[in-house]
């Protein structure tokens, strides 16, 4: 209970800062409402994406019994990223997709199509092999594949200056352009995936003892594996559609929480959702605070904070011999 009190307090502080901090001048009465509205959207987008990534991290770390797993190990993050880039690219070059959806929804839809494509390949291989290691390796290969494809697209896009810029900025991650349409698209998806992950919490607890023991205690291991992959994919696709490529949230936040919230998933998941949201909102505030001509990309900030934080946690974990 005390943990939640602390988390809500932190959320309040981060939220207030997120509304107050930025380059726009709030004392200008004509622009104040617009600034506040934009920052509100941005705050909501950062919170949702952070919550989604942190819970995605909790689930894959439990599923693979590996504290070094991040939601991107499934390959669906790279798939979503690539999908978003393809959408940007085809719209930028040929105006494709403009007839189907309003322009600001083209990238989110692209992200979802990309993530679902990656997920379909992943599940196909899992169905054939029925094995956790195969899931991990397939995810790894898919990541590499989609990253290469993204690289190819980025290099082609450099021929047009504006398109190149847009694609690079998307892959570095940012929540600055998020509007109400993207938010109302992502909110129900993230919310239902969070609830679904919470419901899978008990079988995920059983899986901490390995597949065989989990099965002997009555877990339907195939179903856990399958549905975890599906819900994590929904979470990362939503996060990428809101904020582009933002790393380290899913890796670091679960680790920071376990000493306080414990290892049981149904306790860890709600706390991770809150903490992940707070973490990304704070990183976004920081991105606006660092003096720079253009804003520092969000993915760069999370990496710069996340990497050293993770190394510290690693030392602590090694000392305590307590993993995952």
């Amino acid at each position: 209970m005390r943990l939640y009190l602390l988390l809500f307090l932190l959320l309040l502080v981060a939220g207030v800062l997120a509304v107050l901090v930025g380059s726009g001048d709030l004392s200008n009465p004509e622009l104040r409402d617009t600034f506040l509205k934009l920052r509100g959207y941005r705050l909501a987008a950062a919170f949702l994406a952070g919550a989604a990534l942190a819970v995605g991290g909790v689930v894959v770390q439990g599923l693979f019994r590996n504290p070094l797993a991040s939601p991107s190990v499934l390959g669906t993050t790279a798939g979503a990223s690539f999908g978003g880039q393809v959408a940007l690219f085809s719209y930028g070059i040929a105006g494709l997709g403009g007839g189907l959806v309003v322009p600001e929804m083209i990238v989110p839809f692209g992200c979802f199509v990309g993530a679902l494509g990656a997920l379909a390949i992943l599940l196909l291989f899992v169905r054939v092999t029925q094995d956790l290691l195969a899931l991990l390796l397939t995810g790894f290969v898919l990541s590499a594949l989609f990253l290469s494809l993204s690289g190819l697209l980025t290099s082609i896009a450099q021929e047009t200056w504006e398109l190149g810029r847009a694609i690079v900025s998307f892959s570095l991650g940012s929540v600055s352009g998020t509007g109400p349409r993207q938010l109302s698209f992502a909110l129900p998806l993230v919310a239902s995936a969070l609830v679904a992950c919470w419901f899978w919490g008990r079988p995920l607890d059983l899986l901490l003892s390995g597949e065989e023991e989990a099965m002997s205690m009555g877990a339907n291991v195939d179903a856990v594996r399958w549905w975890s992959a599906v819900w994590v994919s929904v979470l990362v696709a939503s996060a990428v559609s809101l904020g582009g490529n933002v790393g380290f949230v899913g890796l670091v936040v679960p680790h920071m929480l376990r000493p306080f919230a414990g290892t049981k998933h149904q306790r860890l998941i709600p706390a991770a959702a809150l903490a992940g949201g707070i973490f990304l909102v704070s990183c976004d505030v920081l991105a606006r605070l660092i003096p720079s001509r253009s804003e520092i990309p969000l993915g760069v900030v999370t990496g710069l904070i996340g990497a050293p934080l993770f190394l510290l946690l690693l030392i602590k974990l090694r000392r305590e011999h307590a993993y995952a």
Partner: protein
């Protein structure tokens, strides 16, 4: 077993297991009844643990396994685990769960998947911890316990499921003599409470002291089955292990009555 729980017998017919395309178990029949301890014996690689895992539904097998008169192969994992609980030799758990949380995992078979614990859950956990003499360990972190303590907690986890059949894989491996006697005594207590127990044992003297009936395997086939006294006898033992059995030749141990009362 707690009051009001049903008793169930285990009957397996023609259990055959292939691993990686190679047959490792041929046409084995197993029969175990409530209140009875059945030992699975045999040299390393004979197929004891494989047979136990097949009975627990952890491996694909041919043949039939019936528990309480119901064929368990088509049952969903939860319903099967409600009938028979498997106790591994060691747990692969590496996370920092407390003993209370580990034993609570055994209640998964009864839960609806929601967060809270019912009173029935809490009672079962208390009872399981008390039966396995693990109640003092409740708040300790599982991974930091000794092997013997971990074994008692794994037993408590299995008991918490209220499954009438217990399948135990070498519960005394790597235990010191005191821990070993305490686990063996616990097995007898559970049999007295009308559990049906199938246990893989390495030590033939333990099998003689603790089990009622035995199934002796070699190279995946049954060498001998029947009362343990008749199975752990010169002829079958020579056939399975290639050693001569000498009666009363080794030192033995028994629980110290004062220590037992103190427990």
């Amino acid at each position: 077993m707690r009051d009001g729980n049903v008793q169930m017998a285990l009957r397996a017919r023609g259990v055959t297991v292939s691993l990686g395309g190679r047959k490792v178990l041929w046409d084995v029949d197993v029969e175990a009844n409530p209140g009875e301890v059945l030992a699975l014996l045999g040299p390393n690689g004979a197929g004891k643990s494989t047979l136990l895992k097949a009975l627990a539904g952890l491996l694909p097998y041919e043949g039939t396994v019936e528990i309480g008169g119901v064929e368990v192969a088509p049952l969903p994992p939860r319903k099967r685990a409600k009938r028979a609980s498997y106790v591994p030799q060691r747990s692969l758990l590496r996370s920092a769960l407390s003993v209370g949380e580990v034993v609570a995992l055994g209640r998964y078979v009864h839960g609806a998947g929601f967060g809270g614990m019912s009173k029935a859950d809490r009672d079962a956990i208390d009872h399981a911890l008390a039966t396995a003499h693990a109640d003092v360990l409740r708040d300790r972190i599982f991974t930091r316990l000794s092997v013997g303590e971990q074994q008692r907690v794994l037993l408590a986890r299995a008991l918490a499921s209220d499954a009438p059949v217990l399948l135990m894989d070498e519960p005394t491996a790597a235990l010191d003599v005191g821990e070993r006697l305490s686990v063996l005594r616990l097995i007898r207590t559970l049999a007295a409470r009308k559990h049906t127990i199938v246990v893989v044992l390495h030590d033939l003297a333990d099998a003689r002291s603790t089990t009622d009936r035995a199934l002796l395997l070699k190279d995946g086939r049954v060498v001998e089955k029947g009362d343990t006294q008749d199975v752990v006898a010169p002829e079958p033992i020579r056939a399975a292990y290639g050693v001569r059995l000498i009666e009363n030749a080794r030192i033995g141990f028994e629980p110290d009555t004062e220590t037992v009362q103190a427990e």
